[in-house]
């Protein structure tokens, strides 16, 4: 079942026996891509062409694991900034959360407040800037004016907007080719994720679960913007899953379940893996007795039809805003003597999960934070509650981790996760339900005396913690690994850092001057040099080893 295409670098993991990385280093031929641009075949190749990073996680697997070898644990201490791009746009309360794409030496970058740019990857200088004229009565989009990146196909770039639209831009000019409305932003909808482009489809999800909205996952025609299918994350009356809600059509129509983080894809199975968000209201649950499917779940959706193949719910009947909007990480693992095709999620509820990605079967659920709410995940995959809040505070709404991408090194069998130890007490209150009005329904008291963050290495077969590196503050920055045994990560104090994947030793750090929030690094080759990029504050910074040729 192992998909060589999926992993890009196909590495078999068999308890320490590591297969040789099948690296084919073919530098992209500048100019050759110009005629056709990016094809689906290119996207299937993932990171095999070292000059490219064509989709949010680098490839469909969500591993964010680069095959590039120039920067190593031995030389990473020499990494220096090459250029800084200033976006000129602030992100009130959030972060610069994008992952740039790169093709033929050009970076395609989205920013907060629906700005976007094409930049020269050598210099960080700008070819063009796009800015959407946003309405002044944004709803959810005003509270999180962020964007996580482009999707790319042919000469088109796809980007979602804070007023819940999907745009196709011409990659040469930044001009708008078409735009369509995903949902009515007045109600509470917004869109912030990086679209996922697959064969003949642009897959996008929606934000706004803090408002009376109903989540969905959509597929659009890249040529025309016509919608091909829609999967509603909250079932309609009588549909499967509706039995986990009170029989109230009005309730279901605003049940939440946002799909606001880019998912992963297995082309061989033709399955999309996507996380879903909190039920609405977030904290107040008197009106939504039951497990509230398919909120706080991962759903496996047939890409050709948009139908649900299986689902797994991490937090049944959530009352703490622990959305399950994460990048699902796909891999093939030796699990209890058997090779399994799995999907892994380090969840906002503080547990690390391994599921069979063909069937959805629960394989493993282990805590990766010390601040917890459940004693364990039972053999049936359901949490056994330890603390409903009566024993003290619970993981806070920002969670034990969050949407910031984790990274997986298949050779080590280790997932690297930004863990957050921070807790809160929840006081639910009945919200007023009306379109355009936040209906979270509660007051949160965060314990500010304690709390810290950590980069944690999790053995994915046992769920055990191999090492951690502590940050003084709970952190919202993502992670990237490379085959040379490096882990790149950011923190809330503004440090961009490199670690030894084996030991957790810090090998390099650079103070970017602003918290790194929601973003994860990416890397690519250009002119024979490996660049590593990180968004921070209002800047995008590119690092490389010193150029000894000059």
């Amino acid at each position: 079942m192992l998909s060589t295409r999926l992993a890009g670098i196909a590495v078999l993991l068999a308890f320490g026996t590591v297969g040789p990385p099948s690296l084919v280093a073919q530098v992209g031929d500048p100019g050759a891509g110009d005629a056709l641009g990016v094809t689906y075949e290119d996207l299937l190749q993932g990171l095999t062409d070292p000059s490219r990073w064509l989709t949010f996680s680098g490839d469909y697997s969500g591993q964010r694991h680069s095959p590039l070898t120039q920067i190593t644990p031995e030389n990473v201490h020499r990494l220096v900034p090459q250029w800084t791009f200033q976006t000129g746009t602030l992100t009130r309360g959030r972060g610069f959360e994008t992952t740039p794409l790169v093709l033929d030496g050009i970076l395609y970058v989205t920013g907060s407040n629906n700005y976007a740019w094409a930049l020269d990857a050598r210099t960080g200088r700008r070819f063009w800037q796009y800015r959407r004229n946003l309405p002044n009565d944004l709803t959810y989009g005003a509270s999180a004016p962020v964007n996580r990146g482009f999707g790319m196909l042919g000469d088109r770039l796809f980007m979602v907007t804070l007023d819940a639209h999907l745009l196709a831009l011409d990659r040469r000019t930044g001009g708008v080719l078409w735009e369509i409305e995903l949902a009515d932003y007045h109600v509470g909808y917004a869109a912030t994720l990086a679209p996922l482009v697959i064969d003949g489809k642009v897959i996008v999800g929606i934000s706004g679960g803090e408002y009376p909205t109903r989540g969905f996952l959509d597929a659009y025609d890249p040529e025309t913007g016509d919608r091909i299918w829609r999967f509603n994350t909250i079932p309609g009356p009588g549909e499967p899953g509706s039995e986990t809600w009170p029989p109230d059509a009005e309730n279901l129509a605003r049940g939440g379940g946002g799909t606001w983080m880019t998912g992963s894809y297995d082309p061989d199975l033709d399955l999309l893996y996507w996380g879903t968000g909190n039920p609405n209201p977030d904290y107040y649950d008197e009106t939504r007795e039951g497990a509230n499917l398919y909120t706080n779940s991962i759903v496996a959706i047939e890409a050709s039809t948009g139908t649900l193949r299986w689902h797994y719910q991490f937090t049944p009947h959530d009352t703490h805003d622990w959305d399950s909007n994460h990048v699902p990480v796909l891999a093939d693992l030796m699990f209890e003597g058997e090779m399994r095709s799995v999907v892994m999620v380090a969840n906002r509820n503080g547990f690390f999960y391994v599921l069979d990605r063909i069937t959805g079967e629960f394989l493993l659920g282990k805590p990766f934070t010390d601040t917890t709410w459940a004693r364990e995940i039972g053999p049936d995959g359901r949490p056994i509650i330890l603390n409903d809040g009566s024993l003290g505070c619970l993981p806070e709404p920002w969670g034990g981790t969050n949407f910031m991408p984790p990274s997986f090194n298949p050779a080590l069998g280790v997932m690297f996760v930004t863990a957050r130890e921070s807790c809160a007490t929840y006081v639910p209150q009945e919200p007023v339900i009306e379109p355009g009005r936040n209906s979270s329904g509660g007051i949160i008291w965060i314990d500010r005396e304690q709390g810290y963050g950590a980069l944690r290495a999790i053995d994915v077969v046992t769920g055990e913690r191999k090492w951690e590196f502590r940050y003084p503050q709970p952190t919202m920055a993502g992670v990237m690994t490379t085959v040379t045994g490096l882990v790149f990560a950011g923190d809330h104090d503004g440090n961009f850092m490199a670690f030894d994947a084996d030991t957790g030793e810090n090998l390099w750090h650079y103070q970017t001057g602003s918290r790194i929030w929601g973003a994860a690094p990416m890397t690519h080759m250009l002119d024979g040099r490996q660049y590593v990029l990180i968004p921070s504050g209002t800047t995008l910074v590119a690092f490389a080893l010193p150029d000894d040729r000059r």
Binding site: R92, G93, N113, N136, A142, S143, P145, G392, C393, P397, C423, T425, V427, Q429, E430, N438, S440, G442, I443, I444, W445, I446, D447, R448, E449, Q450, F469, R470, Y471, P472, D491, D493, G494, N495, M497, N506, H509, Q511
Partner: protein, 280 residues
């Protein structure tokens, strides 16, 4: 520990729940004589500043309309900490207008609520940010000032005079109750403000330095040492780093400061309600 303390707060919160938001909204504010009173005070001045009923109403309104973003304690979640507004010199009027107009480009909406309701919210948030004048003070402020000059001014400043190691106390009585100040003097380590936690470090050369920690990240630490020098260190260059939970301020128990002297000192501190240093 702090969580347990918080839980106690909630119990109290639930006990006084009859003052629910729904009730307040259904019972028009104008029915309450206090809130219904016309705004006779000059424009921009909160007519409910110290009105207990209005503050109670303001609290309920705050919890339904503001707490989702600003937190139950108004110290901020996704929205900013509101309890520091007055400490940095923000006026009632400015807070009122921010609630009324919203903050453009953010989730903070404008409000069409009646002025009385907005003033009640302002009064509530201010009530948990600042404190009324000390009552039943028995000490002698002049003697208190002398004690301050000889005992405290080495580290604390008032109106531009004094040391820099501890917090500026020019308007301390506007933001701390008499009880809080008494506790801070007798047992300063019970609650240490950010930026004043004691730290001891030993440099590569073996020099031992004590100071207040101003900032820390994974790799560096910034302190003000006991000679008021700003110093930054890379953690990798230090032989030892001890982050104290304690305050740099010594404890002034009854042996060092008698009850009568404490009364005098508190009487003096109670007069310190001057302009914020940032707004001179």
């Amino acid at each position: 520990m702090a969580c347990i303390a918080l839980n106690r707060v909630f119990l109290i919160l639930f006990i006084i729940a009859p003052l629910s938001a729904a009730r307040i909204l259904t019972a028009p504010l104008s029915a309450a004589p206090v809130l219904g009173a016309p705004l006779a005070s000059p424009q921009g001045v909160n007519p409910y500043e110290t009105d207990r009923t209005a503050i109670r109403v303001g609290r309920a309104l705050f919890e339904t309309r503001c707490a989702q973003c600003h937190g139950g304690d108004a110290k901020g979640i996704s929205g900013p900490d509101l309890t520091v507004l007055w400490a940095v010199g923000t006026s009632d009027d400015r807070v009122f207008r921010t609630i009324q107009l919203g903050v453009s480009g953010s989730i903070m909406p404008s409000s069409s609520a009646p002025d009385q309701e907005i003033w009640a919210i302002v009064a509530y948030v201010k009530s948990i940010s600042t404190v009324p004048e000390f009552e039943n003070d028995t000490g002698d402020a002049v003697r208190g000032q002398e004690i301050f000059a000889s005992t405290c001014a080495n580290c604390h400043r008032v109106n531009g005079q004094g040391g820099h190691l501890g917090p500026d106390l020019t308007r301390i009585a506007a933001i701390r109750t008499r009880e809080m100040l008494m506790r801070s003097i007798r047992d300063p380590s019970a609650s240490v403000a950010a930026g004043y936690r004691a730290v001891t470090l030993v440099t590569e050369g073996g020099q031992r330095i004590r100071g207040a920690m101003k900032s820390e990240d994974a790799f560096s630490i910034l302190i003000v040492d006991t000679d008021e020098r700003l110093q930054g260190y890379l953690k990798a260059d230090l032989q030892e780093l001890t982050r104290g939970e304690r305050s740099l301020m010594p404890e002034f128990g009854p042996d060092r400061l008698g009850d009568e002297e404490l009364d005098d000192l508190l009487r003096y501190l109670g007069t310190l309600r001057g302009a914020a240093p940032a707004r001179r």
